[in-house]
């Protein structure tokens, strides 16, 4: 146990901010060294410095009537380009074709055709891909996207990359959303986003391969599973889980804590099979490639219903991360009215229940529970017990007591983000 003073010194030694970086941020573009570089290099410097990349962190133009102005003359187009994550909506097979019944119902009800794409495999790469368009003030090609809290949606909000929502177009949200899904800390007043689903990041395993029950995050470090362990290859979930294991509250973590988590990850690396895509765990667990993996709760329940009933999801004893995925509209959308119509549509208890019955994540509509129970009373046999199980599952309809045992992500400032990334990326990049 180090004394607080020692830890302070330690922290200073591993100062997160490179002094030269600070200098770069605080000095004007013409730094002194550019001039001292000599006459010959001065010309080159002028040329090189002309290529600076300007920031996108401009203050949001939030005149009180800006929202109303934006929405005033917008009309329904009949098309919705929707980017979502894999395994995140109801699916059915009709004549050998994969369809999404809830989207077809939406089209029937509103006349809006949905171009649904599982385009998001992790937040970073998706945001990385659309950021240049957003920065240039162009249409990203998406009208609606689902982005996680804990750094990702905050990043978009901070840069003013999202279209503010007109709440007069969201009556179902106002009426039916759970209190803890309204006014979240990362988006006060739901100005830019409403929740799609919430869930937990825990551990999933194949009992046949582990040959013992899994209870702790420490089990991801068990040499007995060498070469059969998978972790998420993102730089948010993975460090957060390790900090929870180390007894650190991620929200209050410091650079020194990040370093500790990083050295743990380095230690674990020889044991790993692979760093996988977010929600790539369903694949590697069902193929038997991997015995134990980080996992999202709903992914594993869906896997159980689609041919791999043996895979188990556990909430490790150290705790889990609770996250919320949020529907939001990027800036300059082609079909904003269609997007907000869909946002409101899914806040009907019937629709929310259909989604919950399929995706098995935490629904933001508590009224969906009654609909699921009604469905259960009409169903028979395995379907009935399945639906009853769903309605009573703490992983789908958690109580407040359940939620109090969960952890949230650390929210990073832009400068902290660089430090964080440069600590964790070299490890995950192999």
């Amino acid at each position: 146990m180090t004394k607080p003073m020692d830890r302070d010194r330690e922290r200073q030694q591993m100062s997160p901010i490179d002094p030269s970086l600070l200098r770069g941020l605080t000095q004007p573009r013409w730094s002194r060294r550019a001039f001292l570089g000599g006459a010959g290099t001065a010309g080159a410097a002028a040329l090189l410095s002309a290529c600076g990349v300007s920031g996108s962190n401009k203050p949001a133009a939030q005149a009180p009537d800006a929202v109303a102005q934006f929405w005033a003359n917008k009309t329904k187009a009949g098309i919705l380009n929707f980017a979502n994550w894999p395994l995140y909506i109801d699916v059915a097979k009709v004549d050998g074709k994969t369809v999404h019944p809830s989207l077809e119902d939406f089209t029937k009800a509103t006349g809006i055709k949905v171009n649904y794409k599982e385009a998001i495999n992790d937040n970073d790469s998706f945001i990385g891909k659309i950021s240049p368009s957003l920065k240039a003030g162009q249409d990203t090609g998406w009208d609606l996207m689902v982005i996680t809290n804990g750094g990702s949606i905050e990043k978009l909000i901070r840069q003013n990359f999202l279209t503010p929502l007109d709440h007069s177009k969201l009556p179902n949200f106002t009426a039916n959303a759970a209190a803890n899904f309204k006014n979240p800390s990362y988006d006060p007043g739901n100005k830019f986003s409403v929740a799609w689903q919430s869930g937990f990041t825990g551990i999933a395993y194949n009992p046949k391969l582990t040959k013992r029950p899994i209870t702790s995050i420490q089990d991801l470090f068990d040499p007995a599973f060498k070469g059969r362990i998978a972790m998420f290859g993102d730089t948010i979930d993975t460090p957060t889980m390790i900090m929870i294991m180390l007894g650190i509250d991620p929200v209050k973590s410091t650079v020194a804590d990040w370093q500790r988590a990083a050295s743990k990850l380095k230690e674990q690396k020889p044991l790993l099979r692979k760093y996988i895509d977010n929600s790539g765990e369903a694949d590697v667990l069902s193929s038997g490639e991997v015995a134990i993996s980080m996992a999202y709760s709903g992914d594993i329940f869906q896997l159980n219903n689609s041919g791999s009933p043996d895979i188990k999801f556990v909430v490790p004893k150290e705790g889990v991360t609770l996250w919320t995925d949020n529907m939001c509209i990027p800036l300059n959308p082609a079909h904003p009215v269609d997007a907000i119509t869909y946002m409101d549509y899914v806040y009907q208890p019937r629709v929310a229940a259909t989604l919950a019955e399929y995706v098995d994540y935490i629904t933001p509509v508590p009224g969906a529970k009654q609909v699921v129970l009604d469905d259960a009373s009409k169903a028979k046999g395995a379907d009935k017990s399945g639906l009853e199980g769903l309605a009573s599952s703490p992983l789908v309809f958690p109580t407040d007591a359940d939620l109090s045992k969960t952890f949230r992500y650390r929210v990073l400032t832009p400068t902290e983000q660089v430090t964080w990334d440069r600590i964790f990326q070299p490890i995950i990049q192999g």
Binding site: L25, Q27, V53, D124, Q159, V418, R422, Q425, G430
Partner: protein, 286 residues
């Protein structure tokens, strides 16, 4: 009397110069500028002579850089060993069907690079069509796997870049005049001597070009490591694309790109100086 050189030669190289300026020099300068900037994506990057990007790039990712070069060399050597007999056979024994054989070599290119690589993932998967039966027959231990190892990545790279070696070798071998072989035989050379003293020296330009065409893209590849690799097979291409596209850390990614470009250029020039003949350079340029 000195011969006056008119404007004509300069005008004639102009299109080439413009091409190089537009697509090599200007992007190169942009990358160089980016690599010396500091800041972050949200607040913008400013040009500050931030050389630390280079030291960071090297200290964070030297493992991946060295690994990429080693993989590139191994893949090039494997390709050469595999491609030479193939090219030799097509050139000297292909008969009327040479074009058909060449077409067959190129046939895989009609399928997307990514799909071809993903197909190997399917073939080599732990309990798949190859390893599954071997494991059932207890010829291999249950935990044996090829995917997520360096063998999978090197194998995938060799498979994908093999045609780049076959084609220049074929061109060089095809150009050899059969009369020369006959003359060598007339002078009492046996088969091995003909190969060593006539065919091999005449095919060196093809070897040279093939090595360049295979090594450079193989060392910079990122698809094979993504699809077939594991935690310790990441190549420098993966890191660069990740830093650019996911992390939006443009300065670090640019510094890495420059380091890789410099390493490859130095290697290639040293190689050209040591081994290349004028003819070989022509061949590589063709």
């Amino acid at each position: 009397m000195r011969k006056r050189i008119g404007a004509a030669p300069y005008l004639m190289v102009l299109p080439g110069v413009v091409w190089l300026a537009l697509f090599f020099v200007i992007p190169g300068l942009l990358i160089l500028s980016l690599s010396l900037q500091s800041g972050n994506y949200e607040q913008g990057f400013r040009f500050t002579w931030h050389w630390a990007n280079y030291t960071d790039a090297f200290s964070f990712y030297h493992t991946q850089l060295i690994r990429s070069i080693v993989y590139g060399l191994v893949v090039t050597a494997l390709c050469l060993v595999l491609a030479y007999p193939v090219a030799y056979w097509i050139a000297f024994h292909g008969g009327h069907h040479k074009t058909t054989y060449l077409f067959l070599i190129l046939l895989p290119f009609f399928v997307s690079f990514v799909i071809r690589t993903a197909a190997w993932k399917f073939i080599l998967t732990d309990n798949g069509i190859v390893l599954g039966p071997l494991k059932t027959a207890h010829l291999l231990p249950q935990s044996f796997h090829i995917l997520a190892t360096q063998y999978a990545v090197i194998g995938g790279l060799t498979y994908n870049f093999l045609p780049f070696m076959v084609l220049p070798l074929y061109v060089a071998l095809e150009r050899i005049d059969p009369d020369l072989l006959e003359a060598a035989a007339d002078l009492y050379s046996n088969g091995r001597q003909v190969f060593r003293r006539v065919i091999l020296p005449l095919s060196i330009p093809g070897v040279f070009a093939g090595i360049l065409l295979t090594f450079v893209p193989a060392a910079a590849d990122f698809v094979n490591a993504t699809i077939l690799g594991g935690t310790d097979t990441t190549m420098i291409g993966n890191v660069i694309q990740f830093e650019y596209l996911n992390a939006n850390d443009y300065p670090l990614a640019s510094a890495l790109s420059f380091v890789v470009m410099a390493a490859l250029l130095i290697g290639v020039f040293a190689y050209a100086k040591a081994l290349g003949t004028e003819e070989a350079m022509e061949m590589a340029a063709a």
